[in-house]
């Protein structure tokens, strides 16, 4: 797709370097001349936003690591010292803590965009799977990072999550002990979590390189989901998408910085400002918001092992998606039925997130009670979680496989430039006239 390179080195030194290590040519081909579909909307700007977020997390994280002490006796105090005595330590720490939330917000929008426009379908399966791998490593990294301040939620969250591994029959307990480096979450655990939290972002960075490489082999998907047919369909990445992504990044930063400067603790849990105490368990142990849907799935299942399997299955399903969706039409713009199920799926994910925050026995509709089915009241968050979990898996394993075979999609445009069938919302007035003059 990216085709043979058209880069021509100009100065003598560049020519000399180009025949030995064509790095300038590579940068030029990936960041400047890369042909990009010209109909990408703002949902396609999150890739650039995510690259920036990874950079911010790496830089702020490396600076934080210069001041942080990974020891059970000092971790909490060292974080407070960063907030109080390190120059602009408050800024660096709040950027890092809220940056994690913003990173996940962007990655979820990026993933939903992929789901809606069918970005996982051939020939982009490998691109999609690398993306899923990035997401999985992000989850692990975020979990490890949340343990480091060694507050109450850090500690007890670590206990709950590491204990999940104990659900594995026979070898579970041994693995948990090995993971802890002892018989409880303690200093050895904190030390290795710090080490791994420092390591994994570089794994993510490596995966991001693969992700971009795979993207540049197949080229971008686009809102119409049709392949690029001619040069008319594309514009060079620079300046067209550098400026569009740049604008989106700037707006995203406005949101991010409004949290950092004016509400830095609203996304966190107050209990995590209490130093970790193994003898006192907080009333409600809940993960950060971006992991709540999986926590709801875990708690929806009465059996611990099955709960863990379903929780990991929820992520595994995203990996398998390219082979679960049987439809050949990529964009849901032309799949009205699938679109409806997709929007329900988005709501279900939000509902799962909300349930993950509530007490399982809490009433969904206050004041109505008494209809016990199986092990709990129907009017409880555990049952709402169960219904939502059922839909979550049905979407991947029933709806998408069956729908692709049974639905009748709308007519799909021939090409990106083809004006007749293009989406009215993104077709500017007069776009039909004289297409040959465009580009």
């Amino acid at each position: 797709m990216s085709g043979p390179s058209t880069y021509e080195p100009k100065a003598g030194l560049e020519r000399w370097l180009d025949s030995r290590l064509p790095i300038v040519r590579f940068m030029n081909d990936t960041l400047v001349t890369f042909p990009t579909p010209k109909n990408l909307n703002y949902w396609f700007t999150f890739g650039g936003i995510l690259a920036l977020m990874l950079g911010i997390q790496l830089i702020t994280g490396i600076v934080l690591a210069m001041h942080y002490v990974p020891h059970v006796d000092h971790a909490f105090n060292s974080v407070e010292r960063i907030m109080r005595d390190v120059n602009y330590g408050w800024l660096i720490r709040y950027m890092h803590a809220n940056g994690a939330s913003m990173f996940f917000l962007a990655v979820y929008l990026h993933m939903f965009r992929g789901l809606y426009y069918g970005s996982y379908k051939a020939p982009r399966e490998v691109l999609w799977i690398i993306g899923c791998a990035i997401y999985l490593v992000m989850i692990i990294t975020a979990f490890l990072g949340y343990v480091l301040p060694w507050g109450q939620m850090s500690f007890h969250g670590a206990v709950v999550i590491t204990n999940l591994i104990g659900a594995i029959p026979v070898i579970g307990a041994s693995i948990t002990t090995w993971l802890w480096g002892g018989f409880a979450v303690d200093n050895a655990t904190l030390n290795r979590f710090f080490s791994l939290h420092y390591l994994l972002p570089f794994v993510i960075a490596g995966l991001v390189v693969l992700h971009i490489w795979a993207l540049h082999v197949t080229g971008n998907n686009n809102p119409k989901g049709v392949d690029v047919k001619s040069k008319e369909d594309t514009v060079p990445f620079h300046p067209y998408y550098t400026v569009k992504d740049g604008f989106a990044i700037s707006v995203f930063l406005l949101l991010y910085m409004s949290f950092v400067f004016f509400n830095p603790n609203i996304l966190g849990d107050a209990v995590n400002y209490v130093p970790a105490n193994p003898l006192v368990t907080p009333a409600h142990i809940v993960p950060e918001w971006y992991l709540l849907p999986f926590y709801a799935i875990l708690r929806a299942v009465p059996d611990k092992l099955m709960g863990v399997i379903l929780m990991f299955g929820a992520i595994a399903a995203i990996f398998a998606l390219p082979w679960l969706d049987t439809s050949k039409v990529r964009s849901m713009r032309y799949r009205p039925t699938a679109r409806l199920y997709f929007f329900i799926f988005v709501i279900v994910c939000l509902v799962l997130g909300y349930c993950g925050r509530q007490l399982p026995d809490g009433q969904v509709i206050p004041g109505v009670s008494g209809l016990i089915w199986w092990d709990a009241d129907i009017n409880s968050f555990v049952w709402l979680s169960r219904v939502a979990t059922a839909y979550y898996f049905a979407y991947f394993f029933l709806i998408l496989p069956i729908l692709g075979l049974t639905e009748t999609p709308l007519p799909v445009p021939e090409s990106i430039t083809d004006p007749v069938l293009s989406h009215p919302a993104t077709t500017p007035a007069g776009a039909v006239a004289s297409p040959e003059k465009r580009g």
Binding site: V243, I347, Y354
Partner: protein
């Protein structure tokens, strides 16, 4: 269409998000108009100074503030900041306040444990040498460290204020154990201690007796020393102490937001200009 779906999702959430009120929930905190609330909020230095006095004369008898140094009182946006003394260690007021307090030290000549007058570089000393001593003096309860207390409790400053001013005689039918006190704002579940009619009262038990009383602290600026005033002032002090650089943070943020806003507008016009000839 996606925009519609977001609106739909938000609507869906709004339906489900009715707050679930369990019988064990405490009374929702009173809402106070704090001078430091909001993106432009600032601390009232006089109020934080009075708050420090309340902490020093009342709270400090049992509660440590391990993250605080005397020098913090004189740093920028601190209650005793004086532009004449950029280095808070030179601030005479801070020096005097520190000098009032005896701190533990080691005599460098003999190695003996000694007490000496505090200096701005000293930490606020803990009232108890260790946790066991703190529990022994407080009926088995551990007075929490107050360094970040307004950030460490749901409800923040409002909650701490409500707790301090919310002590009530226990309703008839509630059996209060020895060394326990009823407070409707304290989280807990009183069902097991309730023999009266209907639901158990909201709130919980707290080992701390009502710490404030009218006239307990004499304010040097002549403010009437009511429980409400003392509570407001000490909460303002605790809110400042929980993050002494929060005023700096908000001011910095204001500039950053303006910068980003202008930058976004410029990028928007650049985008419009670059794309003007592309049908898409």
């Amino acid at each position: 269409m996606l925009r519609k779906s977001i609106a739909l999702a938000a609507f869906g959430l709004a339906i489900i998000a009715g707050p679930a009120v369990a019988s064990g929930d405490p009374e929702p905190p009173k809402s106070v108009a704090w001078s430091f609330a909001g993106p432009f909020g600032k601390f009232d230095a006089a109020q934080v100074q009075r708050g420090y006095k309340v902490y020093r004369e009342v709270c400090a008898a049992c509660h440590s503030m391990n993250q605080l140094f005397f020098r913090n009182l004189g740093q920028k946006s601190g209650p005793f900041y004086d532009p004449e003394y950029k280095n808070p260690n030179d601030n005479p007021y801070v020096k005097a306040l520190a000098k009032d307090i005896q701190v533990n030290d080691i005599d460098s000549e003999t190695g003996d444990t000694i007490q000496r007058a505090g200096m701005p570089a000293d930490k606020f000393p803990s009232p108890f040498p260790n946790e066991a001593a703190a529990r022994a003096s407080n009926g088995g309860a551990m007075p929490p460290d107050l360094s970040v207390i307004t950030k460490a409790r749901d409800g923040g400053p409002d909650y701490v204020y409500s707790l301090l001013t919310g002590y009530k005689p226990p309703p008839a039918g509630l059996s209060v154990g020895a060394g326990q006190h009823y407070n409707p704002y304290m989280p807990g579940d009183l069902a097991a201690y309730w023999t009266g009619k209907g639901h158990a009262p909201k709130g919980g038990f707290i080992a701390m007796a009502a710490p404030l009383a009218d006239g307990k602290v004499t304010f040097d600026d002549g403010k009437p020393s009511t429980v409400e005033q003392q509570a407001k002032d000490v909460v303002a002090f605790l809110a400042w102490a929980s993050e002494p650089k929060q005023t700096e943070r908000k001011q910095f943020g204001f500039g950053a937001m303006i910068y980003l806003f202008i930058f976004s507008i410029l990028l928007w016009f650049s985008y419009k200009r670059i794309w003007r000839n592309v049908g898409h």
